[in-house]
């Protein structure tokens, strides 16, 4: 290494060690307890801070560290081995993050097929980020394919021989994720750029060889650096750590992620009710309100999901839930994938008292915590549901709705 390369190395060494090694213990407060993919997912998504400001602080520390290091270093040391181990840290840090997201897609969990409510929301009433998620959700095979590419790239990082290929795939794949976050107004552009910065650092090491071989088309020597172990047991320790990594972040994570759907609530809804309903009659405080697309009180239609969620469409405007990061919630009440990014329907989670025939509704949107409803229900026949309380009386009839999205477009369709 020449003089300026040595200075650059010192800087990047401190910078990336601070980025990748989990020194910020405060982060781990958000990691849920338990043994499984939920906690491993949050561990894999470690960042020293949530914004680019942290990157700046780390860069300043690295700059100061570089100055001290350069002044105090007596003789010119070879950084080859240190550089090698820095790349090892980054390879594993990157692999954990990439594989965690990859496996969520392989078993297509991250973006499930849209719910009945989502199918019955106007396109323009979604945020772009939600449209991105549900547009991918309609094609589980595509999602699995993307997950497979992502996971494979992560696995390629685990060997130094295939690491440049893995880093190259990640650069394009996660580069695309980063741009999608920017374009669709997603919330993970910092994290995706964090992963990309590591992939770039890894690729730079091999860049000269790649260009020399396929662009300049010249004879090219392979990477001369191999890890040196001073004692034999260190080698075995390394192999053990690698196996442990694979056991947790691939094995345990993959098996538990496969078994646990996490985006939609699990509690079953009113039995046999799932579907979209026309609001045939609507009485509010004794007055019958006719059909209207402009009235803010009258409901237009109601959806019962398979799980205990009910959604209402009306002409009432409200502040939508704009969450745009990937979260894995344990409790049904917190699972907002179905309701976030949607300004066309109001979503209620409910508890069903089957003995008294009462639904206790709670608005899922955090802006409307106080919006609670108690509704008696009657089901005179399998297609009709009557909901009522002191001020409301609503007659719902099930619509036999057909979706071109599900039927497909290979044969002529009249809908």
């Amino acid at each position: 290494m020449s003089g300026y390369q040595r200075i650059l190395f010192r800087f990047f060494f401190i910078y990336f060690v601070l980025q990748a090694v989990p020194f910020n213990f405060k982060y781990f407060e958000r990691v849920p307890a338990g043994f499984g993919f939920r906690s491993l997912f949050y561990i894999s998504r470690y960042m020293p801070g949530d914004s680019f400001a942290t990157w700046g602080i780390i860069a300043i520390i690295a700059l100061a560290g570089t100055i001290i290091w350069s002044l105090t270093e007596r003789k010119n040391q070879s950084y080859e081995q240190l550089y090698y181990w820095l790349r090892v840290i980054l390879r594993y840090r990157l692999a954990a993050g990439i594989i965690a997201y990859g496996l969520l897609k392989v078993f297509p969990q991250q973006m499930p097929f849209p719910s009945i409510s989502q199918l019955n929301t106007h396109y323009g009433d979604f945020t772009a980020w939600k449209l991105f998620a549900i547009s991918t959700g309609i094609v589980p095979s595509m999602e699995s394919f993307l997950g497979l590419v992502e996971t494979t790239a992560g696995l390629l990082l685990l060997s130094r021989r295939t690491a440049p290929i893995g880093a190259g795939i990640i650069l394009t794949f996660t580069g695309n994720v980063f741009l999608s976050n920017l374009a669709y107004e997603g919330g993970e552009y910092v994290y995706s750029l964090y992963l990309i910065s590591m992939a770039v650092f890894l690729i730079v090491y091999d860049l000269q060889r790649i260009i020399s071989l396929i662009s300049l088309q010249q004879p090219t020597a392979p990477d001369p650096v191999k890890p040196q172990y001073k004692k034999a047991w260190l080698r075995y320790a390394g192999i053990s750590l690698k196996l442990l990594f694979i056991f947790f972040f691939v094995g345990v994570y993959g098996i538990t992620a496969n078994k646990t759907p996490y985006q939609y609530p699990l509690q079953a809804g009113l039995s046999g009710a799932a579907g979209i309903y026309n609001v045939d009659a609507f009485k509010y405080k004794g007055a019958t309100l006719p059909y209207s697309l402009t009235d803010s009180i009258r409901w237009k239609d109601v959806v019962f999901e398979n799980w205990a969620t009910l959604s209402v469409s009306s002409n009432q405007t409200f502040a939508p839930d704009l969450s745009n990061t990937e979260e894995i919630y344990d409790n049904d009440a917190d699972r907002n994938f179905e309701s976030s990014g949607n300004a066309g329907r109001r979503f209620y989670t409910y508890v069903n008292d089957t003995a008294k025939h009462i639904l206790y509704l709670q608005n899922k949107n955090n802006h409307y915590k106080d919006d609670r409803l108690l509704l008696h229900y009657e089901r005179p026949d399998s297609n009709t549901i009557i909901l009522y309380n002191d001020s409301l009386h609503v007659v719902l009839s099930k619509l036999n709705k057909k979706y071109p999205l599900i039927i497909g477009r290979r044969k002529p369709l009249k809908l």
Binding site: H122, D125, S292, I406, R409, L413
Partner: protein
């Protein structure tokens, strides 16, 4: 000295890739020789760039959507194998095909490069996937076909579409030069493998053409894979071997230079200009004529009279309208609870007439009627024609047949008594008189508005 299997494989590959890299349909040549090349339109250059082997079309579901749609590749392979057997018998003494391999790679590189640049420019100037019309924004997510969902999901992020276009055009340009061809091939294979998968998953219908580029890119890359594997995976000293022809004569050098930079000039520089013009003045999936001034928006149907009888709003009524839209171009839509034959095409095909530009209704359910109109502002009339002509089509996903006779138009009077209010009256397609009062809805969509506007409206 090549091994026997290498020579056999090369002969097959040579005939196969030549067959699929050279246009085989008469219409391509007709287009090439009938175009006025001093004043080319974007359709002309685009059509030259876009072709694929077209030896056979199997008229079954699999022939359109599945494995049988690749039948032309199979035919090319069979011809290649037969040709390779004959070639092998004639050319027994040959020890290697190094130079022929070089030229084959040149042909495949240019075929792939030109094709993907043609494709890429329609994204770089984002017109391939337009931002959803107002009528699309008020359609339920489940009322679109899967294909439409994907096209719209790119249409809502025009800058992302520009980025995808830059990737495709860059891959194409890199393929023109031998020192950068492998990087171009990696980009092309990655991007188009994704697009192929998208087309299978969403029934997008372009799975053959996109896979065609993957095949060409992999062929270009094939040459470099052994040395990349050797250097990185095996970690051995690697000496790449490339054979390049030597041009001894002046005319050879001039011919090479002219062909190379000629292709670059036509498909990079000229097409850039033409596609820019297309984006600016004639975005081919959107009607080009402006809508009636100041009408753009979503309208509530405040009053609807049929033969002078007021019909109140009901989502179940099969005659009364609701949710009317006036687009920024000359299209009016309304919803009425009566089933319609869906237009299941991709909404492409770059038709010249506005009435045939059907992207806004292709793959859209939700019981909406779409009309192209011409406004006569002095007499206050609109002349309307139904844009949904899918009942007249042979196959549900065919391109629109622009030659077929159009239905007689509807002529309605319009009045604008106050800002935001439009009154329409006249005879509907059943010769019943209608009188409709529309009031503009102050609708703010949650979806962000487009940051790039194609066309002039």
């Amino acid at each position: 000295m090549w091994k026997t299997y290498e020579k056999v494989a090369f002969r097959i590959a040579f005939i196969f890739f030549i067959l699929i890299s050279i246009p085989s349909s008469w219409s391509w040549y007709r287009n090439l020789f009938t175009t006025n090349w001093f004043h080319p339109g974007y359709r002309d250059v685009y059509d030259v760039a876009r072709f694929q082997p077209d030896f056979i079309n199997i008229n079954t579901e699999s022939g359109r959507w599945g494995i049988a749609s690749y039948a032309s590749w199979g035919i090319a392979l069979v011809i290649a194998i037969i040709g390779a057997i004959i070639w092998g018998l004639i050319d027994k003494k040959r020890s290697e095909y190094n130079l022929l391999y070089y030229w084959l790679r040149v042909i495949v590189r240019y075929r792939a490069g030109i094709g993907i640049i043609g494709f890429g420019f329609t994204k770089l100037f984002p017109v391939q996937m337009p931002y959803p019309s107002i009528s699309n924004l008020v359609t339920d997510f489940g009322d679109f076909t899967a294909q439409k969902i994907y096209w719209l999901s790119i249409g809502i992020v025009p800058w992302y579409q520009v980025f995808a276009g830059i990737i495709e055009v860059t891959a194409g340009v890199l393929l023109f030069f031998r020192r950068t061809a492998s990087i171009g091939a990696v980009l092309l294979a990655g991007a188009l493998a994704n697009i192929t998968f998208v087309n299978f998953a969403y029934d997008g219908g372009v799975h053959v053409y996109s896979a065609y580029f993957v095949l060409l890119a992999l062929f270009v890359l094939w040459y470099d894979v052994p040395s990349i594997y050797k250097l990185f995976v095996l970690q051995q000293y690697t000496v790449p071997v490339y054979h390049y022809p030597v041009f001894k004569r002046q005319w050879q050098r001039i011919a090479r230079w002219t062909l190379k930079w000629g292709a670059f000039f036509v498909f990079v520089i000229v097409l850039f200009y033409l596609q820019w013009w297309n984006y600016r003045y004639d975005p081919y999936k959107q009607p080009v004529h402006k809508g009636l001034a100041g009408t753009r928006g979503l309208y509530n149907v405040t009053e609807f009279r049929l033969n002078n009888e007021v019909i109140p709003y009901s989502p179940k009524d099969s005659l009364r309208w609701s949710q009317v839209t006036f687009e920024k171009w000359s299209t009016i839509t309304y919803q009425v609870n009566k089933a319609v034959q869906l237009d299941l095409s991709n909404g492409g095909g770059s038709p010249k007439e506005d009435i045939d530009r059907n992207f806004e209704l292709a793959g859209v359910a939700g019981r909406r009627r779409f009309f192209y109109y011409e406004a006569d502002t002095t007499n206050g009339t609109l002349t309307l024609r139904d844009k949904n002509r899918s009942a007249l089509r042979k196959g549900s996903t065919d391109r629109p047949n622009t030659k077929k006779e159009k239905d007689p138009p509807l002529v309605w009077h319009y009045e604008q008594p106050a800002p935001g209010r439009i009154i329409l009256y006249g005879l509907n397609d059943h010769k019943d008189s209608i009188y409709v009062i529309l009031d503009k809805v102050d609708k703010r969509f949650t979806l962000s508005e487009s940051t790039i506007e194609a066309g002039q409206y």
